[in-house]
Symmetry: C2
Subunit: 220 residues, 2 copies
C-alpha cells in the first residue's frame, strides 16, 4: 500500500506478553498500576532513552543496546500522536473541565496529541511542546487531523488497547512494533485477535534483546 | 522442582504462530496438511537436521545455524516419546487393527513411543528403533511408563495440541521449547491459554533466528 509522499507513517508501539496481552488486570487501589505492568514494560522503562525522555533523567543511566534502539525509534520522527480518552486520563475525571490529564505538567510527547472522546473540550497547551486536542472523530478522520499537524513527520497511535486495535483492524497502521516480554499474563485484552494474515501486507522482522524481550516489527 | 536423578527431563517442542496457535485450520481433502502448516513449520523443516532425520536426506542440504541447533536439540537425548492417538493416526483408521499409523515404515522417533488411547491394541515394532505402545492412562501414569523405557534419557511429549496442554497444565513438563513463526493464524488451539504465571517456575530464554523465527525456552 502506498501513502501520499507528503505524509509520514502511521506507527504503533506496544508492549505485550508472550501470550499476546497488551493490558494488565492486577491493578488495586493500593497498587494502581499493578505489578504486571512493570513486568510487561520493564525492559523499556529500563532503557536510557525512556529514563531521559520520560523521567527527565539526564544522568545517562539506563540500558543501551537493542531495547534502547527501539526506544529511540519510538520517539524519533513523530510529529503528532493520537490516543484514547482513557490514556489521556479523561475517564478518571470525566466531569472536571480543568483536568489536564495524568501525564504531568510536561508530558513526554512534545507534539500535538489528539485525544479521541465523545465529549470534546478546549485544547490544552502544556509545557515542553505537547498540546492536547480533543476530537470526536473516526480513526480515519482523526488521522487526517494528525497528519496535517505532523507536517510530514510520523503519526503515532499511542493507545490504549482498544484504540490501537481499531486502527489496526481498519488497516491504517504502516509500522507496528511489538515488544514481547517473556511472561504469561493469562488475561486482558489480546493484541492479535482477529488479525489473521496481517503479515501479508507487511515485511516482518524479529529480534531478541539481552533482556529476553523479543521485538517484532511489521512494516509496509 | 526436582526430579529423581535417575530420570531424564520431560520435554515439549512446538511450532506456534505469533498469535499463539499451535494448530492450523485450512486443511482440505485436496490439501490435507494445508498451507498454514508449512508456513508454521517452514523454518524447522528447512533445517539440515530435519531433512536428514525425518526425510532421510543425507546430502547435507538444509539450513544450519540457530534453527538447526534447536532441531538437533529436539532429537538429542530423547529415550521415549508420548503422543496422542490423533498424532499416531488412530483417528484416521479407528477400526483397522492392522493400521500402523501414518509415520511410514521407519518413523523418525527411533525410541519407544507411547500412544495414549482409550482403545489399547498390541504394540507395533517398526524399522529403525521405533516401537509403538498403546496405553489408556493418565498423563502421570504414561510418564511412569515412558521414564522406565527411556532409562534415564529424556521423555518427549510429542503432541498433539490437546495432549501437550494436558501435560503443561498438570505441571509435568521440565523443558518447553516453542518456535514462534512470524505469522498470524487467527484461529486454532491456543498454546498459552490458562497458563498465567507459568514462567515463575522456569528460567526463560528467547532467541531469534535469521529465518525470523523466535525460539523461546522454559527450563526448570
Amino acid at each position: 500500500m502506498t501513502r501520499p509522499t507528503s505524509r509520514g507513517a502511521v506507527r504503533v508501539d506496544l508492549n505485550i506478553s508472550l501470550d499476546g496481552f497488551m493490558t494488565t488486570t492486577d491493578q488495586t487501589p493500593e497498587n494502581p498500576f499493578g505489578d504486571d505492568w512493570s513486568r510487561l514494560t520493564g525492559a523499556y522503562t529500563a532503557t536510557r532513552t525512556f529514563r531521559e525522555r520520560v523521567l527527565g533523567d539526564t544522568s545517562g543511566a539506563g540500558t543501551t543496546g537493542v531495547d534502547d534502539a527501539y526506544a529511540q525509534a519510538y520517539f524519533a520522527e513523530v510529529g503528532a500522536e493520537i490516543m484514547g480518552a482513557g490514556m489521556f486520563g479523561l475517564h478518571d475525571n470525566p466531569d472536571d473541565p480543568e483536568w489536564r490529564g495524568w501525564w504531568g505538567d510536561e508530558p513526554p510527547f512534545r507534539v500535538p496529541v489528539f485525544v479521541l472522546t465523545h465529549s470534546p473540550r478546549p485544547s490544552i497547551e502544556m509545557a515542553g511542546g505537547t498540546t492536547f486536542h480533543f476530537l470526536s472523530a473516526s480513526p480515519a478522520e482523526a488521522l487526517e487531523r494528525a497528519h496535517a499537524a505532523a507536517a510530514g513527520r510520523d503519526v503515532r497511535i499511542g493507545g490504549g488497547a482498544t484504540v490501537v486495535r481499531e486502527f489496526l483492524a481498519a488497516g491504517l497502521v504502516d509500522r507496528l512494533h511489538v515488544a514481547i516480554a517473556p511472561i504469561l499474563l493469562g488475561r486482558g485484552i489480546r493484541l492479535w485477535d482477529d488479525l489473521r494474515g496481517l503479515e501479508a501486507g507487511y515485511e516482518v522482522t524479529a529480534e531478541t534483546a539481552p533482556s529476553q524481550t523479543t521485538h517484532i516489527t511489521f512494516d509496509r
